[in-house]
Amino acid sequence: MRRAVLIVIPYLWLLALFLIPFVIVLKISLSDVALARPPYMPQLDLSEGWAGIRDFFAALDFENFVFLTTDDLYFKAYLSSLRIAVTATLITLVVGYPIAYGMARAAPEWRPTLLMLVILPFWTSFLIRVYSWMGILSNEGVLNQFLIGLGVIGEPLQILNTNTAVYIGIVYTYLPFMILPIYAALEKMDESLLEAAEDLGASRLSAFWLVTVPLSRSGIVAGCFLVLIPSIGEFVIPSLLGGSDTLMIGKVLWEEFFSNRDWPVASAVAVILLLILIIPIVLFQRSEDKAREAGK
């Protein structure tokens, strides 16, 4: 009895505020724009009974999805989101791996402190962390002043409002997601394995490639997915650091909704974004399950 209550309350909450909203998005993506409040057609009219439901379903169509294919803005936005996310993930890996490695090889009494230093930005506002780069990357910003002061460049570099700034933003904000799983994998590794490899004639570098990297693979995979998945749908970073030509799907959805007030198209964009995300999410789930099996 009590157990049933325990299950039912969170279950109903999630059904009402997670699943049902999602079904509504799906439904609106199949509706048409209308100059009404709310601005779409058709409305489900239960007062007309069965006929109302039939009319409702009859009016649904895939017009918005067809529209998405005709205007190549959306296609380009999806493609460029994926490209930016994948590139940024790889950069994050290159930046994050040495840090995780250094942490795992640091003296044991230092590790908790280093770990705390990686986690601390998690608790700091995401928005503020993205914003902090605006002051650094702008034309009159700290970085340009510094480089001009050094005499490396004569003219300020245009970094803010370009894709480069977006990469920097993603790498910066998602770096802890990359470091933590790799660190966890490396820390578990027995250092005598490296000694054994070297004892058997491997050089330091080949021991690293042949032993350390394969053993931290689970951490690398987890870290990459943890960075890739949220950055595909990212909105704040491209809108603050990116330029008008930076196309990312989260931003397109936002603008479609708030600026164009085209709810059905915004919903259709959301549905496709989710479909694209399902692939990496399922892959991630699989690799996690596999890692858990192997862990047993």
Binding site: L6, P38, G96, W123, I128, W133, G135, L240, G250, L274
Partner: protein, 272 residues
């Protein structure tokens, strides 16, 4: 070994410089006297004064704290229940759907969560304001709470609950008197996480908010869209300061408790 240590020290130094320099620069510039954010014109706390006189920011901060408090509290209750169901619930109808709904919000892009909740609120004719933001924040942060609490529950020695039952406690008493005090640290960190997520959220709040319920992130976002502002620098510095003090204090307290405990355990072993 020396070569590698050198490499490690370099990568750690550069890495942490990358993580912390932007924030340090932000903090430094918040004490800049100049209106022009890029020109250093001497130390001043002028922008902090301006900030505290800005009614809009103060209102937004108050709304944000309220939203964060309510949503994280409800999310902690629901998330703990959900965690209990996931770890201890055994099999029941729709378990797969349930666990799917717990994990999905963690990977769902915020724009989609925000959009879908907004469409729901419009669909049921609910006026948007503080309540809708609280509902929205509760929904996604309860999933984070549930993940944090279930990882603790999985490690929890089940025989403690059984011992309580065996000694005559009802299942509810066993939870109240034994399980809850022991998993309390996880529940508290779940609450803190939910609170921070809510304080921090821009996208979902933007979708689900209404008149009179502008949260601080929305306010900051609309201010910085146009460029860097000294007042925002001051505000950011305050927020960074609060978080740093909080996290550092918590970790010091936890560490001291762990050291104390280890010492007592050793003493107990030696005594025999």
């Amino acid at each position: 070994m020396t070569r590698f240590s050198w490499f490690n020290v370099t990568s750690l130094t550069l890495g942490f410089a990358f993580l912390y320099l932007p924030m340090v620069i932000l903090v430094i510039y918040s004490f800049n006297a100049s209106q022009l954010v890029t020109v250093w014109a001497g130390f001043s706390t002028r922008w902090y004064g301006e900030l505290f006189r800005n009614e809009e920011f103060l209102d937004a901060a108050w709304v944000t704290v309220q939203v964060a408090f309510y949503s994280s509290t409800i999310a902690t209750v629901l998330g703990t229940m959900a965690a209990h169901v996931m770890v201890r619930g055994g099999r029941f109808r729709g378990r797969t759907l349930f666990s799917g709904m717990i994990y999905a919000p963690l990977v769902m892009p915020e724009v989609i969560t925000g959009l879908s909740l907004l469409l729901l609120f419009i669909g049921i004719g609910m006026d948007r304001g503080v309540v809708t933001v609280v509902l929205a924040h509760t929904t996604f942060s309860m999933c984070y709470v549930s993940v944090v609490v279930s990882s603790r529950l999985v490690a929890f020695d089940r025989s403690l609950e059984e011992a309580a039952l065996d000694l005559g406690a009802s299942p509810f008493d066993a939870f109240r008197l034994v399980t809850l005090p022991i998993i309390a640290p996880a529940v508290i960190s779940g609450w803190l996480l939910a609170f921070t997520l809510s304080l921090d959220d821009l996208v979902i709040a933007s979708f689900t908010t209404g008149p009179g319920a502008t949260t601080l992130p929305i306010k900051i976002f609309s201010a910085v869209r146009l460029g860097v502002s000294p007042e925002i620098n001051a505000l950011s510095t305050l927020l960074i300061g609060i978080v740093t003090v909080g996290v550092v204090t918590t970790s010091l307290v936890t560490k001291r408790a762990a050291v104390q405990r280890a010492r007592e355990e050793q003493a107990a072993q030696r005594a025999t």
